[in-house]
């Protein structure tokens, strides 16, 4: 039997465009979990076809305003893999640094505001 239901109508972490509902039994067992994303689709995969390789990083950073750096670096790696480019250690370290600092910002931001 469901004893407790946790229901969040919109999750701020995903810009308010997701919802979660969890049903928990008396013994703490999760009986039912529903995670909804009702963000309208934007079809990045579709319109990136036919764009030039150096535009991809800029366009994909607009996938998410909270974590643009992650999308940017991932796109960069995808392009490099496709073209067989090997980056130097320094470049890799700098990117890591950037990714980590973006993550720190994101976590700090979530901790402070929400």
């Amino acid at each position: 039997m469901t004893e407790k239901t946790i229901k969040v109508d919109y999750i701020a972490r995903v810009e308010g465009q997701g919802a979660i509902s969890i049903d928990i039994t008396k013994y703490g067992k999760v009986e039912n979990l529903q995670f909804k994303i009702f963000e309208p689709p934007r079809f990045f995969e579709s319109f990136l076809v036919g764009r030039k390789y150096d535009e991809v990083m800029e366009l994909t950073s607009r996938i998410c305003g909270i974590c643009p750096v992650a999308h940017q670096i991932t796109a960069l790696r995808a392009v490099e893999n496709a073209m067989g480019i090997v980056i130097s250690n320094q470049t890799r370290d700098l990117r890591k640094l950037m990714a980590i600092s973006a993550r720190i910002f994101r976590v700090m931001f979530s901790a402070c505001i929400f």
Binding site: E15, R42, R62, C64, G65, I66, F109
Partner: protein, 253 residues
């Protein structure tokens, strides 16, 4: 003190980057929220009320039927409606897909497109009257503050739409088009960013949308002279503001 103005921040088809820009005003944020009664802002608070708003900042374009309903509802409940960022003005980057048949897009991305209910992306101005536009992807915090302060003082905000070139000259940059033969969008793109990219030696990509009265065809001809082909030029204009009437011809309509 008079009653605080009620403000609402809404998100439609966008990335939340514009809302983040408000959060990221570290120095001013706490002062700012004291001046307004934040009535609706899903990203920042739990209990939201979208009735009788003084100001509504709308982020994102319109791409689903219920978003049309939502924006009309917001318009009804709001005195002063602001298109907040390029997506709300003209669809911004998601609008690149407007040139691809909708069915094709859906088939590329989703295994079962029958579950998807989506249309081409348009700015909110397509459906409701917009009182002010904050350009940018995302808008610069200075312009956001300028608009909000002007709203409090009940004066017209100073939102200039001069080209990026003006800000480049303020910074003392060499022109990337004439000195380096690079295809910079600066001469037709609205400033407000402080010419960040050209100052760092990168060309302007155009994220603030068209300036006031731009000469897009002349810039396209200059690009052709630099050595870009028609496809390149089309891609350049079909990026942040391909849907805007100023760039439509160059973006391939």
């Amino acid at each position: 003190m008079a009653k605080k103005p009620k403000i609402g921040v809404f998100k439609l088809t966008g990335c939340a980057g514009c809302q983040m820009e408000i959060f990221r005003m570290e120095d001013e944020f706490l002062d700012l929220i004291k001046l307004f009664d934040i009535s609706y802002w899903k990203m920042a608070k739990r209990d939201n009320d979208d009735k009788d708003l003084d100001i509504a900042l709308i982020e994102g374009g319109i791409s689903t039927p219920w978003e049309i309903e939502e924006i009309k509802c917001i318009r009804k409940n709001t005195k002063f409606l602001v298109a907040f960022g390029d997506c709300a003005i003209g669809g911004c980057i998601p609008s690149i897909r407007n040139w691809i048949p909708q069915m094709e897009s859906e088939e590329i991305v989703y295994p079962d497109p029958s579950k998807i209910c989506s249309t081409k992306v348009h700015g909110i101005g397509e459906y409701v009257k917009v009182d002010a536009e904050l350009k940018g992807c995302p808008p610069h915090r200075k312009t956001i503050l300028e608009l909000l302060k002007s709203a409090l003082l009940k004066i017209r905000p100073r939102l200039r739409q001069h080209p990026v070139c003006v800000e480049c000259k303020f910074q003392g940059n060499a022109c990337l088009i004439t000195s380096n033969k690079l295809p910079c969008m600066g001469p037709v793109i609205s400033g407000g960013c402080g010419a960040i990219c050209p100052t760092l030696g990168r060309i302007c990509e155009g994220c603030f949308g068209p300036m006031s009265n731009p000469n897009a065809s002349a810039l396209a001809n200059i690009f052709r002279d630099i050595g870009l082909n028609d496809e390149d030029i089309k891609r350049k204009f079909r990026k942040y503001s391909g849907m805007s009437p100023e760039f439509r011809l160059e973006a391939g309509h």
